[in-house]
Symmetry: C2
Subunit: 375 residues, 2 copies
């Protein structure tokens, strides 16, 4: 019997309207090497929101459709529309990663071996009741792990491991992380504590500071306090961190970090150089919690760099063998280092409720939603 299931889709129309809806789609019989997964857990990551809401102004979304088949619409400003040129008028499935039970399997031995197993997958289109995938692309969850445990196996864990790996490969020995109380930031703390790597956490509130102190973070500085620059410089001197991963993107924070790194480097300099220290200082921007421009005041000499950083190009750079090592580590520490915590579990339809959208689209640190399309 052919399956049919709901799939969430995001459509940016040439007319300047975003439309997020549910579509009933047929799930074709799997090919020999394929499986069909009943999705039971798929997180709403910040990296999903960009595709989901595609530059629309989400301050005033409109609810439409029916109770069973809700539709959310919103206006896309002119500038946003230009940036979306390549996806206009194409309904896009959403959802980077997730986990669920294999309910159909193709004829090959590899596919058959997965029948009934709980597997996890990255690759998009997970905000759906069913997802067809190649057998080779999924990982079987270890015994005792639930779909919720395994839903966020890829994006956050590999991003956190990728940061530490990038730090090592580029010759640094400690790192800085911003928006540091996030799920990702907590994982990064666990990795660094376990591996003995110095980590400076930058947060924006006393509550976030407490979250991190409670899991054992050694260096936490609050960017909203008046002594932020002094606190940050002190932590940089203590750890020797010369690379930062910044989820904020806009504003002056990247520049402040580079300035503090330069001040820390200067405490070790013996002679004046008009070109600044020779210590290379690097900030990688991997998010855009602040979509405004990045302002660099360049008061840190010439040995500095700012750039974009993303998981996929990083994985391509290190190659499949090294990537596999990182994935294995995630599976073996799934319920410890890489445990994710969710604020709320919602059915697929609720992802289109305006009040729920308002909550998960806040991108509030420490809050994270999980969709269970099988509810």
């Amino acid at each position: 019997m052919a399956l049919e299931g709901l799939q969430l889709r995001s459509l940016v129309k040439k007319s300047g309207e975003l439309e997020v809806s549910l579509a009933k789609v047929a799930v074709p019989e799997p090919g020999p090497e394929e499986i069909v997964i009943r999705v039971e857990a798929t997180p709403i990551n910040p990296s999903d929101l960009g595709l989901l809401f595609g530059a629309a102004d989400m301050r005033t979304p409109r609810a439409g459709g029916t109770k069973d088949m809700p539709v959310v619409t919103a206006s896309v400003p002119e500038a946003g529309l230009r940036a979306m040129a390549a996806r206009l008028d194409q309904p896009m499935p959403v959802g980077n990663e997730g986990a669920g039970t294999v309910v159909k399997a193709g004829s090959s031995k590899e596919a058959q071996a997965l029948m009934g197993k709980l597997v996890t997958l990255v690759g998009g289109a997970m905000y759906a009741e069913y997802r067809t995938a190649k057998a080779a692309d999924v990982l079987v969850l270890p015994p005792g792990a639930s779909a919720a445990d395994g839903a966020s196996c890829f994006v956050n864990p590999l991003t956190a491991l990728g940061m530490v790996e990038t730090m090592r490969r580029e010759g640094h020995t400690a790192l800085v992380h911003t928006a540091a109380a996030s799920n990702l930031g907590q994982m990064l703390n666990k990795i660094c504590l376990k591996d003995g790597v110095g980590l400076v956490n930058i947060v924006r509130s006393a509550e976030q500071e407490k979250i991190l102190r409670d899991i054992g973070a050694l260096h936490v500085v609050n960017s909203t306090l008046p002594n932020f620059t002094a606190d940050l410089t002190k932590a940089l001197v203590e750890t020797g961190a010369t690379i930062a991963f910044d989820a904020i993107g806009g504003g002056k924070l990247a520049s402040q970090i580079l300035s503090a790194m330069e001040a820390a480097a200067n405490t070790k300099m013996t002679a004046y150089s008009r070109y600044g220290s020779s210590t290379h200082k690097q900030v990688y921007i991997y998010g855009a919690l602040d979509m405004g421009p990045t302002e660099l005041n360049r008061t840190y000499g010439f040995a500095w760099g700012v750039g974009g950083w993303l998981l996929t190009p990083f994985l391509m750079k290190i190659g499949p063998a090294e990537g596999q090592k990182l994935r294995q580590r995630v599976l073996s520490e799934l319920k410890t280092t890489f445990a994710s915590h969710y604020t709320k579990v919602i059915p697929l339809r609720d992802a289109l409720r305006l009040d729920v959208i308002a909550a998960y689209n806040k991108r509030a640190t420490g809050e994270k939603y999980l969709i269970n399309p099988s509810l």
Copy 2:
């Protein structure tokens, strides 16, 4: 007989005052491996001005001292003073590079071989009547080359060659240069034309455009014209340039270049990616003609980098053997590719005249002063 000679010095005082003066200094007898050069030509490069005027406000300098021993003073604003912390109250000699005749030589064979020769040197303290140097640190100018021909053998030629070399080493095939009508920019055009490397020149006036067209530049775009973005994108598509060297630093130009590179990359993309193109786009800032903040609007995905670039760390990175190859090329093309043109030749004292300072401190593209301390 011991020599005595004038040396220009720049002093930033704790009190917040810059003082540029001439000092009469004794020139000790050269050691066995040393020589004494009578400096006959030393350029005022943009890279000299930072040390010379050390963050002082040069809109209102004051003249003092005597006709023979002039002194220039100016105020250093509070913020500038902090940046100068490491050089406060220490008189600094100035002048990166220059050429002249060897008038004394130490006892070693290497030093003796240089006696009476015209040599060129990089290493600071060239704004002086005499400069002691190690014999191994100088290059003998080729036959027919004057001190003026050989005065700028290092900073501009090696910087221009270093840009092309950095482009190659980082996997790019063509490059962009800003403030492109400068002496350095003209050299870069000659190198690229000779080596068959695509070069996009960004200038700020029709006059500068003409300077470059006249020496055969193929791609020149004027950032002050309304169709700048379209012109730049077209030139980037034609050349395939994905790396830029920016002498301006402040403002939005670096970001505009990255945006245009992304637009050029998107003309070759077949599918939408919400993370932008996978083409790595790089801007290196090597100057600060605009000392204001750099503003990055990040509308070019995540495959981008902005960073500082300087000649000395570049030469350290490639190592002495590769550096020597570049120096040999400069000497062998000294009167063609690497010919410098000077607006004016001035005696050392005139470098402290307020009207002369106003002229060379404008950092106007295409204008360049040469000091001849032996006049």
